[in-house]
Amino acid sequence: MNSLSTYLIISALLFSLGLLGILQRRNLIGMLIAVELLLNSANLNFMAFNRFLTPDPVVGQVIALFVMGLAAAEAAIGLSIILALYRKMHSINIERAQRLKG
């Protein structure tokens, strides 16, 4: 169980779930959560490769930390965009945002 492939499989599953969520959900908050799933699956990949393949223990962890920070920033921006959209259209349904195409 404690091998690289296990982690990779879990990570692939997470990624697929995230992809599914982002493609299928019409709720913007749901899409944001799905994006977090994608990022976390990537994080898991980094950690796994770091643990099993590289001698230097730090690199993967540092990148994972960066990704977390990025995720926080992304969540903040995403949420504020959603708020702005909600104020404008009184809904957080992605289909309503079609009006933005001009």
């Binding site: 992809l19 982002i22 493609l23 299928q24 019409r26 992605i94 289909e95 945002a97 079609q98 009006r99 933005l100 195409k101 001009g102």
Partner: protein, 641 residues
């Protein structure tokens, strides 16, 4: 640096000429809100500068020309030096500028008292004096040009001093723009010289010109272009209309502008590189014609105006025309000497007029006469002295310099110039005494007792204050009146002093007559002046005179003179037609059609193409994402297999 402190001449030059600038900086930055301190700083600086100038004149009276310079710009054949050139001409002019500026500033203490812009006024006066002094002792034409422009800038500030008055700010602008027209020519001439000769040092230039070191066509073209600068600055024929409008400034400014600085700068520059001009007969002939036309035109204008300052303004233009005539006819000494005497008596005339204007709050000579202008004894006597000097009556300074000029003109082969000179002398005497008689012997005597009583009570009311103001204005006037009396008898020393230097640089054209050459000329000159005065007496002075002037029988000519020969109207019309109607409308069209249209077109194209391409997408974010993921998957598959 050691030489700087051990050489008193250099020290006096640098300190004396730059102290006014320091005082301007100090006033503008530190003491603007303290008028008392500002005027003390300014007057102190200019008084020191005047003392330095006199010291230099005394020290270098019999020395050969002195030059301090450092190389400023050196590139290939081009050499531009920066420094001071102290020869008799610049020393004489430096003294005139220093002394007249000093007297005018002392006078301003009284004239400008209580003005809200008191500090600003003295700051600009200092700037003016600084620029003019540095221009006078400049060692190269480029340096002269730089300070020449500074003089123009300072005069712009001072003419438009009452900037809240529309006509004043317009007059300032007009002076500035008309000067630019001439200066463009001046600068092109300098560029032409740099290309052809490669050196702008004044002594080098004069030396090369007088020893045939310059090709004739280069010389003529550049001399004519540089003469454009003289035309602009000294208000010669095509550009003469800015000077009468410059009256909008305070009266002491007019005095300074018309005597020692600004307009004198043009004539000074002409005499500065006199050997250079003299080497080109064509340029000299054109300058002679322009000087003559200017002198006659502006004399006729002065015959019809009733504005006190305007009469003197026109007379300045005509006297400048006379100086240009003298110089262009080859009379180096006559021109410079007339510049010297003119600086004295014209400052005197303006400062006296300033006292009248300050007292009666009007510029109209008829009203001043009616309200008892002659009761102000000191300015009345002084203005009469100035007018006598201007008309060229014997013991006064104008007589000597005018004789010198007529002597030079008589030496010309074509006698028409001499006739024009005599005619100008008659007109000059006529218009100056028309003014004097208007004030001295007003029509129907002095009237307006209530006015007088009112003035009298006001006089007592602010007695102490008024006394200080009156004497601050009267003392410079009296000094200048004495100068106008004495200067005429200094002709021989000044001539010796100036020509001593010309002999150092051999000049071919100088043919001086020195006034005493021929008796008939002397008699003609005096009688021309007396004839003008007699005509003025007949029309304005004697009992029962009409006081209209003979020109009032010819309304068309009166109108022509009164409208300044329609020169301003012509400029206005041609500006409207050619500049505003032609050039500006072309530029406007270019701006509207080409530039605005181009940018609008680009915007329209971008927007339109955006609209077209927006049909390609649905705006559904998730379809886009799906396509993206599928494409990425396809790419992964492609690379893996």
């Amino acid at each position: 640096m050691g030489a700087f402190f051990t050489d008193p001449i250099l020290l006096a030059t640098v300190l004396g000429t730059n102290l006014p600038f320091l005082s301007m900086v100090a006033i503008l930055i530190f003491t603007r809100s303290n008028p008392k301190l500002s005027c003390r700083i300014s007057v102190g600086a200019i008084a020191f500068a005047a003392v330095c100038a006199v010291f230099l004149l005394a020290k270098l009276y019999s020395a050969s020309p002195l030059q301090y310079q450092t190389l400023w710009l050196n590139s290939g054949r081009l050499n531009i030096a920066f420094g001071y050139y102290l020869d008799p001409l610049s020393l004489l002019m430096l003294t005139i500028v220093g002394v007249v500026s000093c007297l005018v500033q002392i006078y301003s203490l009284g004239y400008m008292a209580g003005d809200p812009g008191y500090s600003r006024y003295f700051a600009f006066q200092s700037l003016f004096a600084w620029a003019m002094m540095n221009m006078v002792i400049a060692g190269s034409m480029l340096q002269l040009f730089i300070f020449w422009e500074m003089v123009g800038l300072a005069s712009y500030f001072l003419i438009g001093f009452y900037y809240e008055k529309w006509s004043a700010s317009q007059a300032g602008k007009k002076a500035f723009v008309m000067n630019r027209v001439g200066d463009v020519g001046f600068f092109l001439g300098l560029i032409w010289l740099v290309i052809g000769f490669g050196n702008l040092g004044i002594p080098e230039l004069n030396h090369a010109a007088s020893t045939q070191g310059l090709p004739q066509n280069l010389l003529t073209v550049s001399a004519l272009l540089i003469f454009c600068g003289v035309v602009g600055k000294s208000a010669q024929f095509p550009l003469l209309t800015w000077l009468p409008d410059a009256m909008e400034g305070p009266t002491p400014v007019s005095a300074l502008l018309h005597s020692a600085t600004m307009v004198a700068a043009g004539v000074y520059m002409f005499s500065r590189i006199f050997p250079f001009f003299a080497a080109s007969p064509d340029a000299m002939a054109i300058a002679l014609a322009i000087g003559t036309v200017t002198m006659l035109l502006s004399s006729t204008m002065a015959m019809v105006t009733y504005d006190l300052k305007q009469v003197w303004a026109y007379s300045t233009v005509s006297q400048l025309g006379m100086m240009v005539m003298a110089l262009a006819a080859g009379g180096y000494f006559a021109g410079v000497y007339h510049l010297t005497t003119h600086a004295g008596f014209k400052a005197l005339l303006f400062l006296c007029s300033g006292i009248f204007i300050h007292e009666f709050h009007t510029n109209d000579m008829r009203i001043i006469g009616k309200q008892g202008g002659r009761k102000l004894k000191i300015p009345m006597v002084c203005i009469a002295v100035g007018a006598l000097a201007l008309s060229g009556v014997y013991p006064f300074s104008g007589f000597f310099s005018k004789e010198a000029i007529l002597g030079v003109l008589a030496a010309q082969p074509n006698k028409i110039w001499l006739a024009a000179g005599f005619f100008g002398a008659v007109l000059t005497a006529y218009y100056s005494f028309r003014l004097i008689f208007h004030i001295l012997l007003p029509k129907g005597g002095v009237e307006g007792k209530p006015h007088d009583g009112h003035a009298e009570s006001a006089h007592e009311h602010e007695d102490e204050h008024h006394g200080y103001i009156f004497w601050a204005m009267a003392i410079p006037v009296m000094i200048l009146a004495c100068v106008s009396l004495v200067l005429g008898f200094l002709e021989q020393p000044i001539e010796h002093f100036l020509l001593h230097a010309v002999q150092a640089h051999p000049v071919q054209h100088v043919s001086e007559h020195g006034g005493g050459g021929s008796d008939w000329l002397l008699i003609m000159g005096v009688s021309a002046g007396l004839f003008g005065i007699a005509v003025a007496w007949f029309e304005y002075g004697r009992k029962g005179a009409s006081r209209n002037g003979f020109l009032s029988y010819f309304p068309a000519i009166w109108k022509l003179f009164d409208c300044r020969w329609f020169i301003d109207i012509f400029y206005r019309k041609s500006l409207d037609t050619f500049v505003y109607g032609g050039l500006t409308s072309l530029f406007t069209k270019n701006d509207r059609r080409v530039i605005d249209g181009g940018i609008d077109g680009i915007c329209f194209f971008t927007e339109g193409s955006g609209r077209v391409f927006s049909f390609l997408q649905s705006g559904m974010l998730q379809y886009n994402l799906l396509i993206m993921v599928l494409a990425a998957g396809a790419a992964v598959l492609y690379f893996l297999i």
